[in-house]
Symmetry: C2
Subunit: 318 residues, 2 copies
């Protein structure tokens, strides 16, 4: 699979522009004072379905031919990509078949169903998920849209950084979280083209640090038993994503669980917006001095805002 160029991200942006929110870029003078730098937050938590994932899903769905579209799309996911694909499909009026583990949180099942996704439950193993998905794809002829190892998805995710740089750039540093690497690879391609002097840095939970280890050892090392509160970042980096990251990303740093919760709380309290733990990982890297941003202008992509209000983590690390 070839890697996208910036021109592909520009085309994706034209394609999805009228379907996605141009999310605001917010800043907090208090946070800037505390952290001694100038932070600009791209609020993809305010994107449709509450996550940047809608950009990539939307781009992939809009690129289907009418014939392909008529057969629908499918994926296996228990997270934001499932909801994003369901909504993108609903907006084109086509079916979305979503394979979810039986054990997925009720709130995620409701979200996918609420956007009109047709859910098939399976056992909570990767094998069961892949087998169930293969069966559905064979039966329906639906096109599988992978959450990150997908050219069109990467192009869609890259539009968040493009908007961030257009609206508040240029920056000294661009920071985003890394899980499967869809957001990071798109972000890095856009930044290299639009703001070449900026450092592209990704942050990852120490408990799910496959991207960091892969990056530094220069070979793809999948996660084994990842564990982190940042549930959007449990997946291992995709092959295409890793190839892009290797040649476009300057650094990947890791953060503690305590740092993630502290950063999440700081964003809730100071910026008055709801972010999920995954979104707080880049700010945690600054809080934990994993990179030096003193006096620098930093763009941070807040990836999503889907949390269960019944299970807030603020007491876990007091």
């Amino acid at each position: 699979m070839r890697a996208p160029k910036f021109a592909d991200i520009e085309q994706a942006h034209e394609r999805i522009r009228s379907s996605v929110h141009r999310t605001p870029v917010l800043s907090s003078s208090t946070l800037n004072r505390i952290l001694n730098c100038e932070l600009h937050f791209k609020c993809e938590n305010l994107q449709k379905v509450g996550a940047f994932k809608f950009r990539g899903a939307c781009n992939a769905v809009l690129l289907l031919t009418d014939e392909e579209a008529a057969r629908g799309v499918c994926t296996h996911s228990s997270g934001n990509h499932a909801a994003a694909l369901a909504l993108a499909a609903a907006m084109r009026g086509i079916p979305a078949y979503i394979v979810m583990p039986r054990t997925a949180p009720e709130i995620k099942k409701q979200a996918v169903a609420g956007y009109g996704g047709q859910i098939t439950f399976c056992e909570p193993t990767l094998e069961a998920r892949e087998n169930t998905l293969a069966k559905i794809a064979a039966e329906t002829g639906a096109t599988e849209i992978h959450p990150y190892h997908n050219f069109d998805v990467i192009c869609g995710q890259g539009t968040a950084a493009k908007e961030l740089i257009e609206d508040a750039g240029p920056f000294d540093v661009i920071l985003c979280p890394v899980g499967g690497g869809g957001l990071l690879s798109g972000t890095a391609i856009a930044t290299r083209a639009m703001n070449p002097s900026a450092l592209v840095v990704a942050a990852e939970p120490a408990g799910a640090d496959d991207a960091c280890r892969s990056f530094h050892q220069k070979k793809l090392i999948p996660s084994v038993n990842p564990k982190t509160i940042a549930d959007g970042l449990l997946t291992s980096v995709g092959e295409l994503n890793f190839r892009i990251i290797q040649r476009t990303t300057d650094e990947i740093v890791t953060v503690s669980e305590r740092g993630i919760v502290r950063a999440m709380r700081l964003i809730w309290e100071r910026m008055k917006i709801i972010v999920e733990p995954s979104s707080a990982v880049p700010l945690a890297a600054i809080l934990e001095n994993k990179l030096d941003v003193r006096g620098k202008k930093v763009g941070i992509i807040l990836s999503g805002g889907n949390v269960d209000l019944e299970k807030l983590p603020f007491h876990e690390f007091v």
Copy 2:
């Protein structure tokens, strides 16, 4: 005290424009689908100090002569106005003397102190607050800035509706909460001038319904023992504010505590932003069918986002 005209709000806007955030206007297609109308939320929870109050405080502080400014400003408040005045004063480099009841929540004391306010604590009675304030004003020569019964404050608060209508108007209905009436009176003056066909409707907690009763009985009736989770709306309507409201507002409706919490939760979950209970009062009016907005385009001012994350109310009305 004369009532402001729209030209006064326009001048206030020019004056404070570079000091305040032009907060985003957000919408949610899911909320629109659920409620069968088109809602546009002016996010003053994302304003500096997390509340629209910063607009009025800023306008009042900027209007002081250099001589007045040198002696500082003062007020008694345990809420957002205290923090707003402290920050507005700090930005002009002048002292802010804030009288707070000893019993004010720790989080509010920290906020005021964090913005550089000089706090004097007093007993938690209106008499003690007023006496303490009078003493400080006499000692320091500081100018008292009342939180709502103040011409310049009303002009500042009116700039939120002005921006809302500029950015997303015109509307069929403009909705805001009412406590002391600073926001409502400014909002109504701006709306009457810019969007004269819009209905101006205010929403108030049934447990602190002095504005609603005063409005319908056409005379000022102060609150007696108001009680509501919407702590920003406990104050009674000011005299100047009531005079303006009487001739500019179309309706005032009341909502239940349960409705406030439901609306607050809906905003948190669907819009991914943090609002305090007072902010949720207008949406509660729609949820409880206190006004008919079916098929209509509605602008709602979200007044603030200062909540104690340790004490969230979502379990109180399950």
